[in-house]
């Protein structure tokens, strides 16, 4: 998926949460590659996405959604039009 652009709404939310410029939000970005993407930042991202798109993540899936592309895929699976 790394050849694709991240949809702008998702990109902007993650940029706000991770405190990085939107253009730096790439699909391959993950908890491994972004230094301040820790577990609390991850929870913030999840809550922000839930609030924005009106969905709820399964708490068991939350720890597994560790990259931008995984988050995007999960949102699409829940029928969110990104």
């Amino acid at each position: 998926m790394s050849h694709q652009e991240v949809p702008s709404s998702l990109r902007n939310i993650l940029a706000d949460v991770l405190e990085i410029p939107p253009e730096e939000v790439k699909p391959e970005l993950s908890t491994e590659t972004v230094s301040n993407w820790d577990s609390f930042r991850h929870l913030q991202a999840i809550l922000a996405l839930e609030g924005e798109y009106g969905v709820q993540f399964d708490p068991q899936r939350i720890p597994e959604l560790t990259s931008v592309s995984l988050l995007q895929a999960e949102l699409e699976k829940k029928g969110v039009a990104l």
Partner: protein
Amino acid sequence: MQSDSERLALRRQIKDAASSRDAGTAVRCARTLVATVNKPADVMFCASVFAGIAEFIQCQPGARTLKTYVVRSVTVEPILPFLTVEAVLSNYVLDLKVGGYGSYADELLNPQSALADFKPDLVLILLDLEEIAGRLPDLCADGRGVGVEEEVEECVGRMAKLLRGFRSGNSARVLLQGLVVPDLTSLGDVGNANLPHSLPSAVRQLNQKLAALCRTVSDCVFFDVDQLAARYGRAQWHDVRMFLASRLSVSANFFSSYSRGLVRAFSAMFRASRKVLCTDLDNTLWGGVLGEDGTDGIVTGNSFPGNCYLEYQKYLRQLSSRGILLAIVSKNNEADVRDAFRTRSADLALSLDNFVAVKIGWNDKSDSIQELAKELSLGLDSIVFVDDNPVECEAIRQQLPEVTVVEAPGLEPWKLAGVLSELPLFDTFAITDDDINRVNEYKAQAQRAELAGGASSRDEFLGSLGIVCTFQSALQAPLSRAVQLLAKTNQFNLTTRRHSAAKIEEFASTAGGQAVVVRVRDRFGDAGVVGLALACKQGESCIIDSLLLSCRVIGRGIETALLAHIGETALKDGAKRLTGEFIATPKNAPCANFYPEHGFVKRVQAEAADSDSVFYELDLIASPPMSPKWITLEGVESNEPSRSAVFSS
């Protein structure tokens, strides 16, 4: 709701303001963004921007930086950006540090703890039910309550030890968060409502006891999070999924509301409450425009929509009863307003007496508010201004930025009391006797200062009092009052003769005799019958036997008016001279020079040498005594029917 383009424009403005280090604009735009758009990402954006310009926010007028340590048993980290933003919007910059999950006792009590090292200004204690009273759910399971009360007491005792122990070694201010009353339990709604020891009732009890505990610890405020949860709906407030998965005790939808509640609660320990509420009248205190609709046309009273305004008036009355000063700032004719308060009093919950200051006129309201602040010796930052007119509101915001402006929802008057309650303007966590007494103190101060400040001379000052003297025959006023004045008056009493009622009647009924009382009122009230003069005519001279005045009203020219009244009557009776008599006593020095000061000439002593009396003469034809121009005279005709016969002695 803002459109997305407006939202993006606000974000851009915030960013631009931050890069030019304009903290004021950044905060203002953030306020609009957060108030109109409820997107968590925007709050995180603002928190990030604020963190970058914290040093400039700290320099904003009135801003306070608080080193804040969070003692907790729940997850707070995702809430911190919201707390940061809400704090900045209330002009606090929080330097936050969060403690460990289970270590609150050590953090609070150990002098070498991370908390102690941090040297906080503020400690937030955010513990959940499990931590504070973990045994309660099981003890309350059967609703009968074996051991429940003991458990509650034990929990409160444990918290008391924590708080007192902390206080003995640390002076940081403390916020203790209460518990959210559990909503759905195994007893069900019916059991919870009817059984003596359900979990909800035990937790309510615990909250009350924790609040009472906080009252006994200095600089400690209780934060009733249950009140917030109930306001927004307990079912929405608590997200079971996120609580069980991540120990988040508040649903993400309420991070902002929760943070605002926390800030509001601790703010009461750092900032004084506002002291004065200045209200507009037309379409604010009552409906309609007095100048156009007239006294009968203004809308107030028990039926809709007048009762909307009545609610607001009652709200103000309640504020006043706990020491908040009320003032009127209105563009109106003062006489119309006084008339409206008088004739519509049955439809109003407030009278003019409830206001410590009244600024009615056609001046700029900013001038009126400044005058008022000066008169009350209070800063502009302690003043709240309520007005329905957006132009007036904006004028005050621009000209007096320290004043808090509340725009009354003119078209939805039922909302005004609620709008005021939602603002933290009059928050306080303790009310003292001084607060309660403040209203009366300031009222007197404002009246004096208003007059002294406005008057450039004594005459102008006296003129502004609006003194009205009513002269009456002593027989028309209650005679007992005249006798009482003769018996009691010492300081301003020229002869101190303690005449009887019969003697007064004799003066009144003799041809050429006078027995006159003076009744005085001014704009602050009616002083009643305060002066008396007795005189009789002998040949061409009118001899003043007695002249006295209650010491409450000395020095306002009333004595001169009384003398002028006697002289005028004497002239009508054919007298050509006034003869005054003074008998010195140990107490009446204040009036020793009364006659010389009024142009009388001392008579060469012709009476018996042992008399204490000194006599003075005045030529009535050449120089009749004149009443001061600042006094309005009433009832000059001695045969006018009494209007104050009911005045009690």
